[in-house]
Symmetry: C2
Subunit: 436 residues, 2 copies
């Protein structure tokens, strides 16, 4: 059904993009911590940001920038300090960062967007950042996606990256993306970041609309621990370098582009959910029979976010009662007589009543989904570094093999999905034992 | 400030009430599982029930009953089977239960209210229930509160009970209450139940309004694991046996009664929060400076319900960043420049910026609040029985010594509170290792 194929190259797979990631001395660990993404030409830019009322300076900066001007050339992202709850000085630091990038690239500072992740309440180490900017500019490369993906992560266990390609007429159009985010091993490192590059030509309004819808169907449909960050940012560039006709209104071409954009965002979102602290499997909740998509998603998210459902899945326990209870409290009206619940292909409940089912088979289904529980536990426990050796096929296998919970709530025609991970001892261990 | 004193007697402290609790063979453990509360005369009755769309038969039954008739004589509560997701047969079982109580007490069946707690999807063991009803009626006593409190619990570690007395004119007015609820050790035992008795005379509309407001300030302001139950019920009777003048509109007397009703509900709600699975302390979040009480409560609940805040408290870590982040995502607009956070008396953040503070003192404050961590771990782990030996003074000490998080979000005049507990290894252990 999908009208595209996966290709290598991440955010530098689309034409006209370069990126880099270096260790600039912002993270105490000395790991890579400064990423830069640059488009050869001014690109249409859209963004979706945290709805928290406690926001980082970079979020305020990007919002203002994108309101004034729907385009950009560069995205600078630092890891180590979140620059949130840093007051006016944090705002000045953001502006100074943008100006330093502009100067090094010889572009207007209005063409630079910013993102930060790290410890809340800490200013960016500006000396290190400013010294790092010429270096990260010098390192820019058309194969620099992995380096950038590695420099934006904090407590992630793996890098998160994807690129897809489709044909429009006889020319390829590509979308790439990188992301960071997991539960929070470090306190105050609650950030989800994603950067998307595209070489199609699309109007600013349409691109923003597509991105907002894609975000609702991906990043806004995952739940690791329910805590929204001060710094969450999704920024997408579209630079037109595919040389395909400009897309200015909805239609077949626009739908194709949006579907591919959504697929990129969903891959990254699932990778984030799977990377939750201590998680042993990805959970996908599919809700059908709803009156509208938002209602379906709301029910799906409530189930995926239920601590009881999550711990039952970790215990490999096919506990339909917890799923039904979570569906019921999602705030979406439905008749409980219409409730139907499946775990994989196993029917657990129909017409609101529990069915006899093969508990062993259901438990086996849950065990099999977590068969590749090769999460590097030592890394989780010691939180020393990121396991960049996990290859893409392993990550893909983990994401493509989720525990699937299907719930039907009625006869409506709308459906929606959400993703989460199971809740393990390690989640509590990691979050309780770390001391600020 | 409080215009009342605590007295003994629980739900039988107010005049004209008897209660009982027996082992009727509903729980596989053989522990007490059937409670009955009876007023000597028809009492004004009000109720607040689960807002889940998956509801137990007893909830539908009580809702219909209280809509038709704002009074009752008796409340029957069984523990062991929730009678939720049991379809039409569950409804018939509910009606049959009410009729059996009515017959045994020689009252109309419309005067009987019902509550159930236990495993979702299981019908009540009707043979045992019907055989038990004459026995529980025979056991009714004016000192039967503790027996009833012990028969409504499932996975609770302790019984929850309170009675308060105030003077109206020269006559005493009393309100008593019992409750059950904790996190969910057993799957599908997600129920919070509370029964309140009062001997004042009050009009039905006013009593329902008072109860709804009291519920918002108590049971609706606690969070253990965020999962709302299929069976949650709060039922309050007011039988007029204090022989004080009828209260029919708001005024000094009504306010006094409502304040005492709220205090009863808050005590029971805090006891439930403190009894959360694996919890080592009660957390009270006080939010001030809000535009209205509901907004303040919303922020307080979001903080009290944050898995990250809860695990930080368990780790005795004064992590203001997690508190700020939770406040920010509560859906209540505020200027982050106005954010102020205190832990006990220790100021952590002011004007939206972190302050230097004595981390050791803050951590000590957290440790001291959990000093009485005498939760009987073995009982939690084996889930064999309830520790009814914990005396009231110990329970009171645990509740009266919470970790206090104070947050101010602006210059508004409204405030609100919420209560929760910390998140420990045992929560995950209990919820993952139990197998249906």
């Amino acid at each position: 059904m999908a009208d595209w194929q996966e290709i290598s190259g991440g955010i530098t797979a689309p034409r006209g993009y370069r990126s880099a990631g270096i260790a600039a001395g912002l993270k105490p660990s000395g790991l890579p911590d400064l990423a830069l993404i640059v488009s050869d030409v001014e690109a249409i830019a859209a963004g979706v940001f945290t709805i928290s009322h406690v926001k980082a300076a970079c979020v305020d900066y990007c919002r203002q920038s994108l309101q004034a001007k729907h385009s950009a050339r560069a995205i600078l992202c630092n890891a180590g300090q979140a620059n949130a709850a840093t007051g006016h000085q944090g705002w000045l630091d953001a502006i100074e960062s943008a100006m330093a990038v502009a100067q090094a690239l010889n572009i207007p500072s209005e063409s630079v967007l910013l993102a930060s992740t790290g410890v809340i309440g800490q200013r960016i180490r500006m000396d290190a950042l400013k010294a790092g900017i010429p270096k990260v500019v010098a390192a820019l490369s058309e194969t620099g996606s992995d380096a950038a993906a590695g420099a934006i992560i904090t407590t992630d266990l793996v890098r998160k990256s994807i690129a897809l390609e489709t044909m429009m007429g006889d020319r390829p159009v590509r979308i790439g993306g990188i992301a960071k985010g997991s539960g929070m091993i470090h306190p105050n490192m609650a950030t989800m970041l994603a950067f998307v590059t595209c070489d199609a030509a699309v109007s600013p309004t349409l691109w923003q609309q597509m991105l907002s819808r894609a975000a609702d169907r991906s990043f806004n449909s995952i739940t690791v621990d329910g805590d929204t960050s001060t710094n969450d940012s999704l920024i997408a560039l579209a630079n037109g370098q595919s040389r395909t006709p400009a897309i200015t209104e909805m239609g077949a071409e626009a739908e194709k582009l949006e579907a591919m954009l959504t697929a990129v965002c969903q891959h990254l979102a699932k990778a984030i959910a799977r990377d939750g602290e201590g998680a042993t499997c990805l959970i996908e909740v599919q809700v059908t029979g709803a009156q509208d998509e938002q209602a379906a998603r709301q029910v799906a998210k409530t189930i995926a976010g239920s601590s009881l459902v999550k711990s039952a899945i970790f215990g490999r326990d096919p506990n339909w009662g917890r799923i039904a209870a979570a569906a019921g409290r999602a705030g979406v009206p439905f008749e409980q007589e219409n409730l139907k619940i499946k775990l994989g292909d196993i029917l657990l409940m129909e017409n609101g009543q529990p069915l006899p089912f093969d508990k062993k088979a259901a438990s086996e289904y849950l065990k099999q989904a977590a068969a590749d529980a090769s999460v590097p536990k030592d890394l989780v426990a010691t939180n020393m570094s990121n396991d960049l050796s996990v290859d893409r096929s392993t990550i893909k296998q983990r994401i493509d093999n989720p525990v699937i919970i299907s719930v039907s709530i009625g006869n409506g025609s709308s459906s929606g999905k959400a993703w989460g991970c199971d809740l393990s001892y390690d989640y509590v261990k990691i979050n309780a034992e770390y001391t600020t």
